[in-house]
Symmetry: C2
């Protein structure tokens, strides 16, 4: 399994991993921004262009070429430093080079820390499809830290926080209520935030440990995502992309409403969640004219089969049910309530 290390002394943690292992070479993979965070500059550094549009096979082949040139072997260590783009692509490059070189992930964003870096999914976009090519290959270690967050744009911070909320919804109502009290405008309390990340990541790690290849229970982690992906895809199609976590936040509220309708998820919790999302993720760019397109996208989600829309829903916080089928009218009604809650 993956070794999860929670610390704000990242270089010390990396030093310990290097000291314990018997590696002939350490290679860093970073993007143009995160490369500057490594001091002193490491001898072997592969820098890739920033942004999801560069998460391509062309970039991977350049990484493989550099790994070959640097003399990476099965006894080497790869360190991925960056957001989800770097850990997804760097993980794929390492997992397929000589059938697998050990790699560790050092996420620099909230989303990376609680989602992309943990759980063994690697991949790249291919043609227009996200994460179409990839493998299940866990980083040996993930070093989770809040030390990169002070300079993180607020939108990035909020986007990642939506996944933190999702993990609490899957596990622990007290933690959920603590999170829904979060004030994004206050300065970061690093110790407190690291503790929130610790709890959040553990929820994901526990579920992944029971179902690493997404045969069943791991689908619980798709809470909010059947509806959220539809928002994200429709916005993308219109060339007005929204951050992943914003789409997930709206998806979490919609699926909480569906959970209330179908599984008696408490309306009190729907409202608490709804108000937090209204206060922090309000700029919702859809109207009732978009419902047909959204429903169509949900039917084509990878969790859906035979044209039926399938979600993960909740009977209560921590009591999740995968593979729940919902019908169009139910989704439309839930979208109406979402728009009411957001006041849009």
């Amino acid at each position: 399994m993956q070794n999860l290390i929670f610390t704000n002394d990242v270089m010390d943690a990396i030093g310990q991993i290097e000291a314990q292992g018997d590696h002939n070479l350490t290679v860093w993979i970073a993007d143009e921004n995160t490369a500057r965070l490594i001091t002193p500059a490491p001898p072997c550094l592969i820098t890739i262009a920033d942004g999801d549009s560069n998460k391509t096979l062309e970039t991977v082949t350049r990484v493989w070429d550099e790994m070959e040139y640097m003399g990476v072997t099965r006894h080497s260590l790869v360190i991925n430093l960056g957001g989800g783009m770097v850990t997804d692509l760097g993980g794929f490059a390492a997992a397929t080079f000589k059938r697998g070189v050990r790699f560790i992930n050092v996420p620099t964003t909230v989303l990376g820390a609680v989602d992309a870096a943990v759980g063994g999914k690697t991949g790249i976009n291919y043609h227009t499809l996200k994460n179409e090519i990839g493998t299940f290959a866990p980083a040996s270690d993930v070093i989770i830290s809040t030390r990169f967050f002070d300079t993180l744009p607020m939108q990035e911070m909020k986007s990642g926080f939506a996944e933190v909320i999702k993990h609490a919804m899957l596990s622990d109502r007290d933690e959920l209520l603590r999170l829904l009290d979060h004030d994004f405008n206050a300065p970061i309390n690093h110790d407190a935030l690291l503790e929130r990340l610790r709890r959040s990541v553990q929820v994901k790690a526990d579920i992944v440990a029971r179902d690493p290849n997404e045969q069943g229970e791991r689908k619980a982690l798709n809470l909010g995502h059947t509806v959220g992906h539809a928002f994200e895809s429709l916005a993308m199609r219109r060339d007005k992309p929204v951050p992943h976590g914003y789409a997930v936040a709206w998806g979490l509220v919609t699926e909480a409403v569906l959970s209330h309708m179908l599984l008696k998820f408490p309306s009190d919790d729907v409202h608490r969640l709804g108000y937090f999302v209204r206060d922090n993720y309000r700029d919702f760019p859809f109207t009732c004219d978009d419902y047909e397109d959204l429903l169509d996208l949900m039917r084509h989600d990878k969790k859906s089969r035979n044209g039926e829309i399938a979600c993960t829903l909740l009977a209560a916080v921590g009591d999740y049910r995968i593979d729940q089928t919902v019908i169009d009218d139910e989704v439309s009604a839930a979208l109406d309530i979402l728009r009411d809650l957001l006041g849009v």
Copy 2:
């Protein structure tokens, strides 16, 4: 683990796998020759060019493109029909498409049946390096049959048989002696040969099950290959390639001699093996002038570290020892004895 099916009614076995699974689509991957073996022609067939020189990233991207076009999902089934080139490349394409589509291997060569198709190694060549990019990803099922062997060139037959001999050397002296009595000129006795394959594949499968990612014991399967790969690479470098199994056969004799020198492997067994290789794999294209090049290649083998040559050796048939270091003089002496035994 991999389900191994030994049968000469291949289509029936495939039909059963399809009937048991809940797949939305079956896609075949074959090369230009093996594609003709599928009757009636299947609706979804991806044909790739024959030969190791086509085991490239370009071919994989074409396979991914066709999979996308055909609508392959995580609920589809891929059937790789062919030699090691098809099962290696088709396995890699399937294992990385949407982070893994179920695939089964139907090897059509002896080498494919007892080596490439079993054990979860997938991969492609990259630049000049063999199997440089790949994953450990087991086929869910491997259907092993002798029905494709009647039309197999004798050289292919002998090449694969060297790996069958290797597996017997790792496990069972009675089986080894039976194999060393084999007459390649007699017509194929399908029932008897299928039984030989069953025993051979089981040796590999048992070792792989204990060490799927080649951390330790799996290196036993490299018996004959530290020296064998050096023969293969040097022949390739001179544009006079030799079949993989021929190089392995010479490597097995050389490493049996080293085993005798270092671990008292019985000389009687060295001689029986040597005579069989002399009678069937004689056309050995090296002289003592080549020793330096061969030693240099062995030092760069992926099993070797710090410039020391490492082999798997035997104390007796079935009693293998991995990570055995040998020095140049010992290898040179063993190569002398190999040439004596072969009479070249």
